[in-house]
Subunit: 350 residues, 2 copies
């Protein structure tokens, strides 16, 4: 399998740790490596590193290469402009077909958390096998709360000859709270986590049918793979492609879309308050990614890049405190969406 | 008048800004100078700097001299051991009598806030004049809340021939909340702010009568003023003196104690949450002694020693956030008493 890692995220929600030139995929939220490093490591157990390709903007390329020393320099694809996921995935599919003709392609976010790498590998194998049969296959996550921030997948009947794989009855856009509650209680709805599997032939057939202009553009770029003119062609053509997501541009109207219900813990780690989902907490439910001195503190998140200086707190609950060289952030967990606003104000103050 | 500044405070309540070797009197909480610097400046408008003497522990002496360049090196008295206020004041009274015989002595805390220096000067003049008549005179602050952290002074009738000066009916120790409420609604009760005025003769007469052993000890030390043996005598005698406060050891049973009700804003700035009493706040009642980026933040205190790094906060209320090279402190205003506990835990963690 060719593993395509989409690493174009802009990373405002983990400010002041993340920044434009160091988005979430390039920060170390936990463990030894930055998020995309953990993603590559997880995928290295499933495929060989020469089959892993990272798609990102030009401004991130140096940091990406530094963060991912196990990848060859040819295993990075640059997006000269941000055009959402469809053009990036189509280009990566053509790259895969060029390098490893006939192999299945899997698309993965660069900065998500996956709890059980072995179960993840099994799901990828099921999805990959189904993709070989000509389906476009997605992984669906089991919802455990009425989340309004994700798209949902309505799971249909089993697919003949492909165990653990179901027909997708519908892709559902981000619901309101009431509808999310309905999905949760009805069952049979899964979260769309942005992981897709297909053969380049299948995908490009759908792109040709649904997005013919994009198809021509991508083919034009791919014709120059390994040619001295590649960079120039990429720079001139890619920014002209329609900016559209793979979900909206391809999946929703694709001929045969299937889903593999995942059986592993997953989080897109969307903001600071999501850390407790993916990190061990202390006996008072605090996430401690910082030296701390705490007295009567519960349900908080502490993160620091400075090992020599503690964060001291008493009598607080449900608070996020982040200490980086750029700023000290103090925000209640339930207000973490306001981090974007604070970052904007910070940028404006410069 | 001789102004004696008691600067022996240990300063745990403004951690992590204050420390053992940099207690509150030596930190800059607001304005251009550290607290004791502002105290000396205020007193310099009332008396000459050669009449100002600072009493402090040996470990602070270098920092004190640096913070108070306007004082001569002879204008510091060292307490070789902390023995509470009575021995320090008695020693300072003898120093005053030695250097400027016959002048009145005023005793002042080193780290309090006084809102109106001119009114303060007027009150000091009234108190000083009454002290010349042989009274021990204290300044009483008008209470504006049922504070349980201060001692109270029950104000009696006017003193003959001393305008604005009243007899002290009683010194009352720190009351419980209910009693503090009674004092507030009854009126005629003032806060004891630790400012006293007397002639050395009057004070030492009371010390001789009430604390005869201390009297002998202090006289023994004072006999060596300006002698090569002074340091040795001080070091051997002072630590043997009874550790007792001037209030308990002298004032409560003194022959003639009067009070001048103060007409200026005052705060002992007892903890971080007291800053709004003495600082301008923004339109949302926040104290901003730090670069900040705020969104929907009210009634908070922000203090930083790092001008280059902002504190960013959203959706918080009534919180104190302090950023120093030693630690980042996050604590609700109403929990500021827990700063001591955090400091203890911090010291233990070293």
């Amino acid at each position: 399998m060719i593993a395509v890692i989409l690493a174009g995220g802009s990373g405002t929600r983990f400010w002041p740790l993340s920044r434009k030139d160091r988005p979430k995929q390039l920060v170390r939220l936990f463990g030894d490596r930055v998020m995309i490093g953990q993603t590559v490591e997880r995928l290295s157990r499933i495929t060989t590193t020469d089959r892993i390709v990272v798609v990102c903007g030009e401004h991130l390329i140096d940091a990406m290469r530094e963060a991912l020393p196990e990848l060859d320099e040819d295993n990075f694809l640059i997006e000269p402009a941000a055009r959402n996921t469809a053009p990036a995935i189509a280009l990566a599919a053509m790259w895969a077909n060029h390098r490893f003709p006939g192999e299945v392609v899997g698309v993965f976010p660069s900065d998500h958390f996956i709890g059980a790498p072995d179960r993840f590998a099994s799901a990828v194998e099921l999805a990959s096998d189904a993709a070989k049969l000509g389906h476009i296959v997605t992984l669906g996550m089991q919802p455990n709360r009425p989340e309004t921030g994700y798209g949902y997948i309505k799971q249909g009947g089993a697919v003949d000859g492909a165990q653990g794989v179901h027909v997708v009855d519908a892709f559902v856009e981000k619901p309101d709270h009431e509808r999310a509650l309905e999905y949760l209680s009805a069952g049979g709805y899964l979260w769309n986590a942005g992981m897709f599997f297909f053969t380049p032939e299948t995908l490009m057939g759908e792109v040709e049918r649904q997005l013919p202009e994009m198809y021509e553009g991508i083919l034009g770029i791919a014709a120059d793979f390994d040619m001295p003119t590649y960079d120039e062609t990429l720079s001139s053509v890619f920014p002209t492609l329609e900016s559209i997501s793979i979900d909206y541009g391809v999946m929703e109207n694709a001929g045969s879309v299937c889903v593999v219900p995942a059986e592993f813990a997953w989080s897109d780690v969307g903001h600071w308050a999501a850390l407790p989902e993916i990190r061990e907490t202390d006996e008072h439910s605090n996430v401690l990614e910082a030296p701390v001195i705490l007295h009567d503190v519960e349900d908080c998140v502490f993160y620091s890049t400075n090992d020599a200086r503690p964060i001291a707190a008493a009598g607080v609950k449900g608070l996020v405190v982040v200490d980086t060289p750029e700023a000290v952030l103090v925000i209640p967990k339930e207000r973490c969406q306001d981090v974007r606003e604070l970052k904007r104000m910070f940028d404006d103050s410069k």
